[in-house]
Subunit: 291 residues, 6 copies
């Protein structure tokens, strides 16, 4: 084991989707329940499971070479890292995490300006400070240890909290006043580590595979047989995610076409392909796409 | 959102397999636990989750344009709907729901004629009435609110109940006297709605995709390399679900063949293909087949 | 139902992975929780669910024609069976079961020789007897009904127990002194049954499909488009699990290449393929591979 | 087994609290999951598990001698039974089931009169018919097979549904227009069966024990030592659920007092008793109280 | 920690009821999931969790001083132990474990004599050998590793298996031919250990408390107020589990009576007590009874 | 609702034991899963569920009148509150929470002095700062967002973390260097609120009932009949938690004795009582004890 890449992955709500993304990308990580140091089937990797809030700090200090954590926490911690890629996944959906300024539905607060002199609770004190400074508003900020949503209006006037879909906010009868930030996980590197040739190449390969797996999430493969005469109009309506493969068939008047499309396009385009004369259409699943 | 298709899907035991079928067909439906009105990733759809027993009624009255429900409940409700397709899936298997006339194993009742003047409990009062009328038998019918199987012989002489596999009947020491009906889910439309061009095309596309997903359930893709000389005998034994694609290989004496077969055929045919000289046989999963 | 093959599958910890392997191989087995005699979608099969420890005995006595059980239990039982194939899967990983001689971390016992006159508990009395005889060591062996790991050092001096990963041993502060045996499941036949033509062919087909499913576990399909000029260097770096298919594309300067590789190779090779000029790389899952 | 009492208990949401009440009353009923005919440790009882909706019908027809079911379903079925006792328990709380007329929060319907000509869905068609007749309102009633709450406003204008706490209604943004009925379980007898001496005495004993167990639910026993001089003021503030027992103590200036009070009174009265000079106050749980 | 009592408790299906019995007896045992050596709140105890099958062997060999295990396994192992008490509890009920000779419902075997020359599978080879010897029957016995019930009739002609309620046998369509043994857990001591004064006294105390807790299982305390004149007839009908306490009340014409009765008697006697003039009857739970 | 007491209870790991303690004390709190403001059956109470870390702050600021939280967090926050009672319960046992300085088993750090210049992670930055200042040690402290135990030795040199039993520390191969603090929950009041007569009396009553419920946890009631002659020696060995009640019995030579003892004493004393001639000993459970 000559050289290893120290990589930090987030414990907590992002843990399962992150490990599952690595598995789709071809890296199996064997994570016990509480372990900080899971093993994997790639002996080049030295993996640390760390809270998302702290990953930026440990990359910045050089304790790990690189890692995946939310853009929000890197912004909160004001650390300066090499940003290799945005990875558009999240804990339960494909929507970004949103940091929002929230008040009770029936609060008199309508804009951030109305918060002058008021009390705000948040887990993201740094994010909120920078936002308020930018808006020229002065308010009392307090760090919240959790269960932030239930603190308005009894304990504070407003909160800054995280949401993906807003449904939890609606259930608590809260209203969004403003959005401070949208955030997806990113792959960050320590600038010094990224200058090391071996580490740089290793990180670039991992990023390529992670993006390939994300790219394939909502895509499917499509094969169909076509009368040669229909080839041109079919190629016109096929979206060009990937150069379609056209192969001759035994029956010389027909060709086989194979391509990759979005699954949500498939339900639109398959009926149209039938109209154009396609036969034997089959759709099959994909693991990865590297364009 | 100019125009929308109101579509009813069954709550209850068919809910999970129905939503899963839509997902395979390319439509993601986001259904909260109790919600009547789930959202989806197709903004053309306005979805209602309704009990299977009531869907026919609401399509008939025009509250929704179309929907999926069992043939049995449409028959029970005696409503007159446009029947676009039978969809051969069920709650836990691929077997149809069967409505059966059932008595205790040791009952003296041997045929429906023996029920003259007897008491019958059932959730399908309409189905049973029509069956008895047809057989010329007169019996006392009572609506059962559930747990019908345990009512014989203490509370009634016979029951008409639903079964897929018969195993629950055997466990309760019951005997089937006759079968009244077999039923799969169908896609039904309100006749007026089906006369609307936009709605008709939308329904037809959905039905095509649902059938494509069902078609692919037990099918697999198969690829293999063949000496050219073996092509003819191989094509002969390959079942003709779809025109096989034959492609030349770099080595001019060999060709690549690709086709689609039933998974249960694969276990028969792969050993035979080996005997005929096939090499590099791979089998891969499919999402949809539109012949 | 003219002729049937009596086949024994292991109840207990190997049950789930075995049934799942059969499903991947194309045989669906409908197993109720406690049932000895599950049904399947292949009416040629007459299936028995039996404890792994007893399967060898029942094959040997001719109560069943063939079955899957661990090599270790066949060795323990000293029965003489036809060994058709090793099937490299296990209860929770892809590692073999290991029978190991174990003592407490701080025990004075360093080698098997130190066990002279000592007490050993094990579920594998036969395996241990043969091992000790071979080593020329005489010790007191007692059959353990389970929970063997916790018996040292209070009740016995050493144990012979089963482990896959060793993690449970470490958690109990135990040390491995020696390894007696490594064992995977095998497909065994009764020698007389294997002389029957129909049964022999049936068994061989099943073994071929099981091996095909195991073969596909960690493999993926790979397709890519290439400039013709890059074909030769690409074919050089592609591992040769299966003859790659090379097809012409509409654009005559490009070809499509399709092959099968190990998933763990994919993460190495895809970046290299990009460097060589590959485009539109897609990776797709496989069900079976029969080379 | 000379004579037996046929008694019906409710399957479904009342099943667990009913069996648990019988256990507290001293009758252990061994109920398998789906069984209609559980056994018990009182061989005088012949027990039927039947849906609450149907119990009244089967008591009325004489298939069973007596049973426990909600007052609401007896009212719905318009059967004439001997009403031996109201038993104030419910599925999840100690509050009665309420049948309420419900509309969406923002509906224009304010009183039952506004329902003239409107559509109403309900599982209690009889209850609703009688209520509307009494109010002189004519509306279209349809039987709901379940999931009634989600039908307004898309499928019907109003519903009549069951609630205990109203919280599910609030979560669905519904408003209560009127309450039709409050209902607890009752112990009902068939009038003929109640004329049989043996059966009457058996039913009366069961009712006494059920009421004794319900009575003890929120009560506790209380013991304390008192200076004789404090006895009078203490007896004055002790609620008179049961004649307190006053016993002499070894120290002739002190007496021991024992009584039964509501648990919610205990938290009020114990501090007051301390002020009056009580010592060694202990509170202990009760199983049954028969006053 | 001068002296300790080594005591073995059964792992497996008896574990939970045994630890729960000790808790009721006043000994809290802190048992981790797999641990052989749990701690407790009585530092005199050195506890071993061992399989019920092996406890007799380890008591006999002197590895532990005493333990609780089924009479059946001591009989199976033919060891000679001091039998301090039968403890009538079991894994899921209060019925003894029964070892029964079992055949398929439709087997031709009617008595043990019909087993001459037949095959029998059992986990209790010793128990079965002694039973067959006593009956003068010679059969082929094989040790069963589990799932014994499903082996008839395919693999063996009969089984000897354990049952509490017989329900699992009925579900498997099996018929009991004979009963070999009934067995409850016993408290056994090594004869030498029982000669040690300190150990003997410790064991006797534990046995007294275990029996006290078992004694209280189905008993309840009962208090009531009575007119003095009714005292004699009431004392006559009260079962004499324990001398009733009769105390004077403030009102000199009344007395308070307190006693202990079986819970199943309570439901009979309370109505009778009411008839005799009792008032303020309360029933309360008990932890232990030492007569 | 004239006046109410605002009381804060801890969300998180202390939530269940706290609500359960209130229930035993006679206050039923109806807590939905996430709700900050549960209702209760005492309309005098206005309840807030808040993180234990924040309760001290909100009592200090006067947002609530009183609350229950760990002594540790009040110490961490350096707030000055009225301390009404220590309540000796905890999340999973009856042991206090311990804040301990922890290093890896094989670390060179032996005393707190060895931490000079080292890195320490902790959730209790205030507690640790005050401890280090007291010891005259200067180290780098960083706030840990959780999963603190797994940070040594890779990310920090030592941690200050919370433990009840130390078992999690042992499982992680950590060693305790020093203990900073032991902590139980306390009932704290805001000094101003405690000066309000109504609030003071309300708080004092609640504290009395909470302590009464805690007091009864490990106690039991004991009744026995005695020959008069044995009364004196028995009273001598009975522990004096509460003045025993001695009542005459019908048989004038006997008396009934009733008392309260620790459950762990019961197993010692009952055998001794038997020796002294006691009969009919019964032990019964208690809800509360107010001495």
């Amino acid at each position: 084991m000559s050289q290893q890449l120290k990589i930090a992955l987030p414990k907590g709500s992002l843990q399962e989707p992150t490990l599952s993304l690595f598995e789709k990308a071809g890296y199996n990580i064997y994570s016990s329940d509480r372990g900080l140091r899971p093993s994997s089937d790639d002996s080049d990797l030295d993996i640390y499971m760390i809270r998302a809030q702290e990953i930026g700090r440990y990359i910045d200090q050089g304790f790990v070479d690189c890692g995946i954590t939310g853009y929000d926490w890197v912004y909160e911690n004001k650390v300066d890292l090499e940003d290799l890629a945005e990875l558009p996944y999240s804990r339960a959906s494909t929507r970004p995490t949103r940091w929002v300024l929230v008040v009770p539905e029936n609060s008199e607060i309508q804009t951030v300006q109305d918060l002058e002199g008021k009390r705000i609770a948040t887990e993201g004190v740094g994010i909120t400070e920078r936002y308020l400074a930018e808006k020229g508003v002065s308010a009392k900020l307090e760090f919240s240890w959790g269960a932030t949503e239930v603190k308005v209006p009894d304990l504070v006037d407003a909160i800054v909290d995280v949401t993906e879909t807003g449904s939890s906010l609606r259930a608590n009868k809260l209203r969004i006043v403003d959005e401070l930030l949208q955030s997806f996980p990113h792959f960050y590197a320590n600038p010094n580590a990224y200058r090391d040739d071996w580490k740089k190449e290793k990180m670039d390969r991992i990023v390529m595979m992670l993006k390939g797996a994300l790219e394939a999430r909502d895509k499917v493969g499509l094969k169909l047989n076509l009368p040669k005469s229909a080839l041109e109009p079919v190629l016109e309506i096929l979206p060009s995610l990937r150069r379609p493969t056209v192969s001759p068939l035994a029956d010389g008047d027909w060709v086989a076409v194979e391509t990759v499309i979005c699954e949500s396009i498939a339900r639109q385009i398959i009926p149209d392909l039938k109209v154009l004369g396609a036969e034997g259409i089959i759709e099959f699943p994909l693991n990865k796409i590297v364009p």
